[in-house]
Symmetry: C2
Subunit: 271 residues, 2 copies
């Protein structure tokens, strides 16, 4: 089953466009979790077991595991294995934002799609098609290309005007020509106008977005701008508001309640 | 001691601008190495012990370790620890080409400069200053920003004209304004004209370049274009021509001879 088919299947089951970012930060963990032998895995497992029926996908960001070295990456491995065994229907996006040339890109693609064995990843398109092909060759997996990031300084380069259009739209227009079926795109939710333009170019592709939360107005705009004609295929990531909703022994319940709240806000705008 | 001071010190000792890329690929290893318990570490150690007095720096590219999962990363850890213990004067550049926003960039910087503990790394500048600052805050370490990559399709985006200048020069001009002392830049050696322009903008910064080898003409152009006024500060990476110079039991000797050959070619053009 390819990534798109997995998304369609889980949507029927969970009725949700919510993607939960599994971004462990020991400084934000409830104190009692830190006492366990593998706090990161225990934390992730706790969140997953309370939210598995509320999500469209899970998205661990590998930076948060690399920061803890080999031990952190071992926790990532356990998390991915746990998800694949216990909840095989839920797509896993490993947010790794890789990009390199030729043989090196091949090695990154091998790491992500063979070693980690996930369904999708994020890649920068700035080095051109030959740097992205090694990822796209994994046909059942989705390569999500970053078009417009959501940080304040993203505008410095991404909004530079070229023939009257911002640089990020040059990226989008060019990527459109690459005509690979397993391409996805990323646009930050803080830019609903950009989301509209990118959705027009990619009417049927998965779009990953981040920054959607309980702030109704922004979420409304982003959801309405980003879903496809069927009101789907927009992967709405939220990490911190959900996974750090609580800081005590009841943190999983608080995470679940926050996930329900955000899922429902998204649902209310997508139809 | 910061990265620049380390470069200056090793140059006095080794008289070389050659950087050797430690990019393990099991398919290219001599057969007898594959029988050892940790082929990647044994391979790296063999190369290092034969070339330590010929180099300006070593540059492992993390993709080649990630492709072999946690075991590969363990070999990277052993390689870095070995270098730091036995050859503490030689700068280590971990080529990781990371880039992400805010808190995530912090996690990547922590992974590279604290966990891996290297002297320098490579980072994409495309997300703007706020995404690079978490790396630059490690003052003794050098953050090498990628300006122009050397793959054929790099031109698609990096050469797009903005106000008459290619996009990569917009990057360079903007980065120049960031005024951090611990910034380095990367320009592929296949673009000597670009190297001239970038060296003019960054007269005193380390420039990392790749693609220099035994092809005299190209190496001559790149070295003459890239060195600073003192004929230094150009880190000339070569990986495959050196580390895979041989494929039998005598591979280390062949690597050493190839390293000497390339070092000497570079030396002949830098003064």
């Amino acid at each position: 089953m390819n990534f798109q088919q997995k998304l369609n299947k889980i949507l029927k089951k969970n009725n949700s466009l919510l993607c939960i970012g599994l971004d462990p930060d020991l400084e934000k963990f409830p104190k009692h979790i830190l006492k366990s032998a593998d706090p990161i895995f225990i934390f992730n497992k706790s969140i997953i077991d309370e939210t598995f029926n509320l999500v469209y996908a899970y998205k661990p960001n590998i930076a948060f595991y690399e920061a803890y070295g080999l031990k952190g990456l071992k926790s990532l491995e356990k998390t991915i294995q746990y998800l694949k065994k216990k909840y095989p229907d839920i797509p896993i996006i490993l947010d790794a934002k890789r990009a390199d040339i030729g043989n090196t890109a091949k090695m990154y693609a091998k790491a992500i799609f063979e070693y980690w064995g996930v369904d999708a990843t994020t890649v920068y398109p700035y080095l051109g098609l030959d740097s992205v092909v090694p990822f796209l060759e994994y046909k059942n997996q989705c390569t999500i290309l970053l078009i417009r990031t959501s940080n304040p300084d993203a505008k410095t380069f991404q909004d530079l005007k070229i023939n009257g259009e911002p640089f990020y739209m040059q990226l989008a227009n060019e990527i459109k020509k690459w005509k690979f079926e397993n391409i996805g795109v990323f646009v930050g939710a803080t830019y609903p106008d950009e989301l509209v333009k990118v959705r027009k170019l990619f009417p049927d592709s998965p779009i990953l977005t981040a920054g959607l939360g309980v702030q109704g107005a922004q979420t409304k705009k982003a959801v309405q701008a980003g879903v496809d004609k069927k009101g789907q295929n927009l992967i709405c990531n939220n990490s911190r508001e959900i996974i750090y909703a609580g800081s005590n022994k009841d943190f999983v319940l608080k995470s679940r309640l926050k996930a329900i709240e955000i899922r429902d806000i998204i649902e209310s705008y997508r139809s």
